[in-house]
């Protein structure tokens, strides 16, 4: 667990610097924010990028453990867990699909339960433990469910995959992976528009039947 977190933390620190596209997106969203916010916010934004724009609004303190790493954060109440993960912690493995709780691409575990992070306000995970797709592998060793998705081709474009895998792990832990019909029912909150469903079911069944610890 310790090693896994260290490796993971280092990677998340590197990500923004190494990703010019994300930097560009951040800067362009700053420009939009500058165009829409009152003068005081603009002034703050001129000096220190977009994180500071929100500082003129009310921010609250938030303690949350993500993939074993404790974070002390300050967030505006409007921030969802999904946006916190992607925009502040740079954990972009968790995907924003519909952003309205309909597709499951944003699925993460909060205190062991799978939830839609897009409909979870960040403030509501105060004091809780969040696991994202980045926290599933043990260092370089993939989680059995990740291995099974690769083996069974449980994806095409891959956009829904992090949510599918988080949901699939929970599905087995909950004890709802006892038949194909049950897997399909309990995985219905994760939409795959490439239609990889049969392969996803096969991957889950293999992990379940293999009896590996998930």
């Amino acid at each position: 667990m310790e090693d896994q977190n260290k490796g993971f933390e280092a990677e998340s620190n590197l990500q923004p610097k190494d990703n010019p596209r994300r930097d560009f997106l951040k800067k362009s969203s700053l420009l939009t924010a500058v165009a829409l916010t009152p003068a005081v916010a603009v002034k703050a934004a001129e000096n220190h990028l977009d994180e500071k724009v929100a500082a003129v609004f009310e921010k609250l303190s938030l303690d949350v453990t993500v993939n074993g790493v404790a974070h002390k954060l300050s967030v505006e109440p409007r921030v969802t867990l999904l946006d916190l993960l992607r925009e502040q912690l740079h954990l972009t493995g968790t995907k924003k699909g519909c952003d309205y709780g309909q597709c499951g691409a944003c699925t993460v575990h909060v205190d062991g339960h799978r939830v839609n992070s897009c409909l979870t306000l960040a403030m509501m995970v105060d004091g809780k433990k969040v696991i994202t797709i980045e926290g599933l592998a043990n260092g370089d060793e993939l989680h059995p469910m990740q291995e099974a998705f690769i083996k069974h081709d449980g994806f095409q474009c891959g956009y829904c995959t992090p949510g599918q895998i988080m949901s699939a792990v929970a599905c087995i832990r909950e004890g709802h992976a006892n038949s194909e019909a049950e897997i399909r029912e309990y995985m219905s909150g994760n939409i795959c528009r490439c239609g990889a469903y049969p392969n996803i079911v096969n991957a889950i069944q293999e992990v379940k039947n293999g009896g590996q610890k998930v």
Partner: protein, 326 residues
């Protein structure tokens, strides 16, 4: 999403004081409210997070079961006491939403969820529920999902819950806490018909808090069934749903409970059909008769006339399953 303040009172007094202020809204699981806030349908000034309150327990009481308002939908669905004594409730909960949403949604929040009428959700359209006085877009619009019972000139929306249909059938009671004290409301009296004030979904006052529901013991556990008919096999709102519960002794129906979802602004209890079932043999012929009785007064709109056939067929189907005849 409009900006808002966020508070998380440590106790019930704090919550009651906070929600008495104008512009406030309770948040529990947030699975419906955050969605509505993102759409701009609801825009509270302040959210009162009630998750610090000790209202998550499911516990046996002398005459039945008490379920705390903050018990999660998944927690209730999987609870052994619920599965044993009230399998109808467990089935209804499992038929609703997705595994992720059931891990977020609470019992109280499920009761408070708003309609999924597309005209309510689309802020560019008229809707008397969202913006009183603007008119109803659904009446002359696309109304395939809409009501066939109890609607008004102002609103033809339906209540989207599955859990509430089961609780209505099971004679549950809602426990409500206000600043002046506690009151109990029959579950079937909690939600209301739209009438001239469709902006009000239920009879909970602005400064009141749902603390739990109680379900009285019954003899229906052996013969109950929740049927949900929808556009896809899972994770969709009901076109029609039926909660059916029978007490059958020696082939004769001693007592019956029936409620329907997807047909009205509130869980639609079918008391006339229940009365008809009592004392009759538990046969498909009896169930068909009850289904026809239940449909008295139904009226369809342009796109939902199919419900006039689907509803009685679903009632018969649910009762047939409940009786163990299939």
């Amino acid at each position: 999403m409009k900006q808002f303040q966020y508070v998380r009172p440590a106790n019930q007094q704090g919550v009651l004081a906070a929600i008495a202020q104008p512009g406030t809204k309770i948040i529990a699981g947030g699975s419906n409210l955050v969605d509505l806030m993102k759409h701009g349908v609801m825009a509270p000034d302040k959210l009162v997070d009630i998750n610090k309150l000790p209202l998550r327990n499911i516990s046996g009481i002398s005459n039945g079961l008490h379920i705390g308002a903050l018990a999660l939908n998944s927690q209730v669905a999987e609870d052994q006491q619920v599965k044993t004594k009230f399998p109808l409730l467990s089935q209804a909960l499992t038929a609703g939403a997705s595994a992720q949403l059931r891990n977020m949604a609470t019992v109280g929040g499920n009761m408070m969820q708003r309609t999924r009428c597309p005209y309510f959700y689309d802020t560019a359209m008229p809707c008397n529920k969202r913006a009183p006085g603007t008119g109803c877009g659904a009446k002359e619009g696309f109304n395939r999902m809409h009501a066939i019972f109890g609607f008004s000139d102002k609103c033809i929306a339906v209540h989207p819950s599955d859990m509430c249909i089961a609780l209505a059938a099971l004679d549950a009671t809602v426990l409500i806490q206000g600043r002046k004290g506690t009151r109990h409301l029959k579950f079937t009296d909690f939600h209301r018909l739209p009438g001239t004030t469709p902006e009000l979904d239920n009879n909970l006052a602005k400064d009141e808090l749902i603390t739990g529901v109680e379900i009285p013991n019954n003899n229906f556990a052996q013969h109950s069934y929740y049927l949900k008919v929808r556009d896809r096999a899972s994770y969709a709102f009901a076109l029609i749903s039926v909660a059916a519960a029978l007490d059958i002794q020696n082939g004769i129906i001693k007592d019956a409970r029936l409620a329907m979802g997807g047909v009205a602004h509130k869980p639609w209890r079918l008391t006339t059909a229940e009365q008809l079932l009592k004392g009759k043999p538990a046969t498909v012929a009896t169930f068909e008769q009850a289904a026809q009785t239940a449909m008295q007064g139904a009226k369809a709109f342009k796109d939902n006339a199919f419900k006039l056939q689907m509803a009685p067929a679903s009632i018969t189907e649910a009762l047939t399953h409940a009786a163990g005849l299939v």
